[in-house]
Symmetry: C2
Subunit: 222 residues, 2 copies
């Protein structure tokens, strides 16, 4: 018995791209390094953002856009740290788009920001097709999701600049093959930078923070 | 400083529903209990299906439809067990729809099936809006995703018949509040049945298997 495979095509709309270019020009004017952070639900986007703020707030002026289908629990956590933040509730939409981000930019003090961290909706598929005006894409993939995720969701892994392999503290309790994961990701994306981290324990975070600081400096030079 | 919230509307297309009714009639004719299994990427859909097959294959005739953006790794695993399976590759689409399932039904031996398990694309948002012709919806939410998922992805939790709270074996290593999770889910969906399980160790699986067997019997009676 062989497995039957049906392939279904899909058209992806693209009027979003022009608006993303507008956002990018606006952010470039202020020299703001903008990061689009994408992952599955619960992979650790908010924890990464909170930890990055705590570690770098004395060195960098950070602002945040939080994207969620519903609720503002993540933005409240950022707000508690005294960091400028806007929550976008997509009301059912499964990704942020450049129009939503343009509105959010109106409510941020762009003159006083070095880097803007945008937390996309938790989803490994749809956010990939919608550029927002970002300089860099950062994906988080967490160990409990399994090492086969690049095979099943290849587009997002192929398009990102960096992958944070999060929740390394759970390695002893999982059947997770880091080598297989890294091989699959670099097969799709030879230039990707992979950082194994635990946002919970702090393990590996220094390499990510150094990468971010360096990218902010590069942006300022332009 | 207060948090700014922007709410964005979205129209969801619905021509899918008629096709789903066709699928349902076709499956009803054969008395097949059809389950639409939904979750985040890596929450344990395939592991649940494989474990269910191993436990119930002597009692029930099971068939499977596997939905993925790409690859057929999941269907290969089911095929190895000698169970009829069709892989749908959505080619970028973030959910199954009733048209894809209708095609897959053409390739399954419907006369020899008691229950059809459909593994949807890993996504906590989009699959919810697309009925496939199922009798029951089963969601898997796994502990490493965090106990706040019902707040952020309320629609899917509100629409499901059953939630399997998977990966309970990881509880000792996580800050996860099961009571808060259950309270949030029942707040959205008072009639939901929640089964804490570990598809890995088998803990709690007997309750899920009994629920499934009972639902198959109820369907045959109709």
């Amino acid at each position: 018995m062989s497995v039957k495979v049906i392939t279904v095509g899909e058209k992806i709309l693209g009027a979003n791209e022009e608006k993303a270019r507008d956002n990018k020009s606006r952010l470039d004017e202020h020299g703001i390094l903008t990061i689009n952070i994408m992952s599955s639900p619960g992979a650790g986007k908010t924890t990464l953002i909170l930890s990055t703020i705590k570690n770098l707030r004395k060195k960098l002026r950070i602002a945040v856009i939080e994207g969620d289908v519903a609720s503002s629990v993540d933005a409240e956590k950022v707000n508690e740290l005294g960091i400028p933040v806007v929550q976008i509730n997509t009301g059912g939409a499964c990704h942020l788009d450049a129009f939503m981000v343009a509105k959010a930019l109106d409510d941020l003090p762009l003159k006083e920001v070095d880097t803007l961290l945008i937390e996309n909706v938790g989803n490994l598929i749809c956010p990939n097709a919608f550029v927002l005006g970002e300089d860099k894409r950062v994906m988080i993939s967490s160990l409990p999701e399994g090492d086969d995720k690049p095979l099943k969701y290849p587009a997002m892994f192929a398009d990102t600049d960096t992958v944070l392999l999060n929740k390394t503290d759970l390695q002893p309790y999982l059947d997770y093959n880091t080598d297989a994961f890294e091989k699959a990701v670099t097969g799709l994306n030879p230039d990707v930078v992979i950082f194994p981290v635990s946002c919970k324990t702090g393990e590996g975070m220094s390499a990510w923070l150094a990468w971010l600081e360096s990218a902010v400096k590069d942006k300022k030079k332009k």
